[in-house]
């Protein structure tokens, strides 16, 4: 904790130093002080923190949906490989199709509210979860399948008691990638049409050439993403104490 604060302080000092040393104009990179002022100004005058929950909600709800659908699809794909054959091109199409291009379509189908943003977040966080979960399910030692068969476990029990725990490390890796993409997706969603949210603030900053506003929005967005990431890491640590990736097997130090 203390070290985190120290490195943070060091980072800010270095930033300040560079800005002062090279006399970087504030319209290119504002100094930490200018930024702090902006932050204070936005908080007191422009209800900055009314924008945070808007975006946070889009990210969290979309991410949860995306993760859930990702896991479910992976399970479906491993149970019925044909489903993957049929759906995979469509999935990659949806992933790579520039969201900006299909924005009006999304609005047409989903309206103007939070839904299209949530759907966008869900779409992008879905894919890393799917990809990693598939990989995980396919890596499971067949012996565990045999155990499940002996005990005549039904599909749900197998999923819940054997496959999910086993897939947990890769699933979390997928979720970590997913959560970082979710932030960007929420921003893109808000660019399609919004009146609040950090993505909206960001575009407002760009519209008005206000670098500090842009940076405050970006930093808050990153912070949201980072905190979600850290939260995932904490949950992972709790759940994955048993796994090799958590036991320092690499460094060969004793437990």
């Amino acid at each position: 904790m203390i070290r985190t604060l120290l490195t943070l302080a060091g980072f800010i000092l270095a930033w300040w130093g560079l800005v002062v040393l090279f006399d970087v104009p504030s319209y290119l990179v504002p100094s930490p002080w200018v930024l702090a002022e902006k932050f204070w100004f936005l908080t007191t005058q422009a209800a900055l923190f009314s924008h945070v929950p808007v975006t946070l909600m889009e990210i969290v709800v979309g991410f949860v949906i995306g993760t859930f659908v990702g896991v479910a699809s992976a399970v479906l794909f491993t149970r019925f490989p044909m489903v993957e054959v049929v759906l995979n091109p469509l999935i990659i199409f949806i992933q790579t199709a520039p969201k900006i291009a299909i924005a009006p379509l999304l609005l047409l189908w989903l309206g103007l509210g939070a839904t299209p943003k949530i759907v966008l977040v869900a779409i992008v966080s879905f894919f890393p979860v799917l990809s990693n979960m598939l990989s995980a399910l396919r890596s499971i030692d067949p012996n565990y399948g045999a155990l499940a068969k002996i005990l005549k476990m039904n599909a749900l029990q197998r999923l819940w008691r054997i496959e999910l725990p086993q897939a947990m490390p890769l699933l979390f890796a997928g979720m970590k990638v997913g959560v970082t993409l979710a932030v960007t997706a929420a921003v893109i969603g808000e660019l399609m049409g919004a009146r609040a949210g950090l993505g909206y603030l960001l575009s407002l900053g760009q519209e008005t050439a206000d670098v500090s506003l842009v940076l405050v929005a970006v930093l808050l967005l990153s912070l949201i993403g980072y905190l979600l990431y850290v939260a995932l890491g904490a949950v992972e640590k709790r759940l994955l104490g048993w796994h090799e990736s958590r036991s320092g097997a690499l460094s060969n130090v004793e437990g």
Binding site: D141, N143, I150, R161
Partner: protein
């Protein structure tokens, strides 16, 4: 032989009181032993990655009797595990068929399997691993814990219930896997070299415990081992397998009576069987 009469799965459990071999006893009583499952010309051909095929099991016919203790012995790679896995329904057949008297077991709690390697769930403590089948069968948690703890004490792991599998020695893991297979008292238990990683003392203790459990529950046990002593000590019948292609080369009905204890090791018949089996394995 026809499978007449609708007898409930494992309903009929012989009560072993005499010193006669089970099959013998049943013969005396004028009844045939109840066939629980018949492997009828069962074969298994594995197709390897290179497209070559390995005949792991040549057409093999074998009846497994209700309530018996049947051992499989044979050289490494002769198809013992394959046969066991086929009985458990883990392997598809390349030929022949498996006839269950009352249809293949439908409940998970009907069959217990001890794999050749202990297949423990690495994220569960030893207690949770042993309780795992009970959880799957929705046994109340309290009762499950009690039974799992009792089983752990039996295999000498009472002090390790909180440990993770990776924190155990090889033999301890194997014992945990045995506990898991027995904790729900399955009607038929298939064991693939369960005691291979155990020292003599532990092994002897486990042998006796296994017999005790079997007598209590009347389970049918099919048992793979490399130890001839173990096979002779435990079994009603011993099937000797030979390799490439795997098949049953001899099948013996041991006349050592249903009750086994250390005393049996002084029985001259026991030594006779040892030497017979040893010879057949060469």
């Amino acid at each position: 032989m026809s499978f007449d009469g609708k007898v409930l799965f494992c309903e009929h459990r012989p009560n072993n009181e005499t010193k006669l071999g089970k099959v013998e006893k049943l013969k005396q009583a004028g009844t045939h032993p109840q066939v629980l499952v018949r492997a009828d010309a069962v074969t298994k051909i594995y197709r390897s990655r290179m497209g070559e095929s390995v005949e792991a099991l040549a057409p093999t016919t074998l009846d497994i009797h209700e309530g018996e203790f049947l051992s499989l012995i044979g050289p490494s790679g002769c198809g013992k595990s394959t046969f066991l896995r086929i009985l458990a329904g883990l392997e598809t057949l390349s030929g022949g068929k498996l006839e269950w008297r009352d249809g293949a077991p439908t409940k998970g709690s009907d069959v217990g399997f001890v794999f050749q390697e202990p297949v423990l769930l690495p994220w569960l403590s030893i207690l949770d691993n042993v309780r795992f089948p009970l959880d799957v069968f929705r046994t109340p948690k309290n009762e499950g814990n009690e039974r799992a703890r009792a089983m752990l004490a039996l295999v000498g792991l009472g002090a390790f219930e909180k440990a993770l599998p990776k924190e155990l020695s090889g033999g301890m893991r194997q014992r945990a896997a045995i506990a898991r297979a027995l904790v729900y008292r399955p009607r038929i238990v298939l064991m693939d070299e369960p005691f291979g990683a155990l020292d003599l003392l532990t092994r002897d203790r486990m042998n006796d415990e296994l017999l005790r459990i079997k007598n209590e529950t009347g389970s049918t046990i099919v048992f793979v081992t490399h130890s001839i002593e173990e096979a002779a000590y435990l079994s009603d019948r011993v099937a000797v397998m030979s390799a490439r292609p795997g098949r049953i080369s001899a099948l013996h009905d041991l006349d050592l009576g249903p009750e086994r204890s250390e005393a049996i090791k002084d029985d001259p018949r026991f030594y006779q069987w040892l030497s017979t089996l040893r010879k057949e394995l060469r």
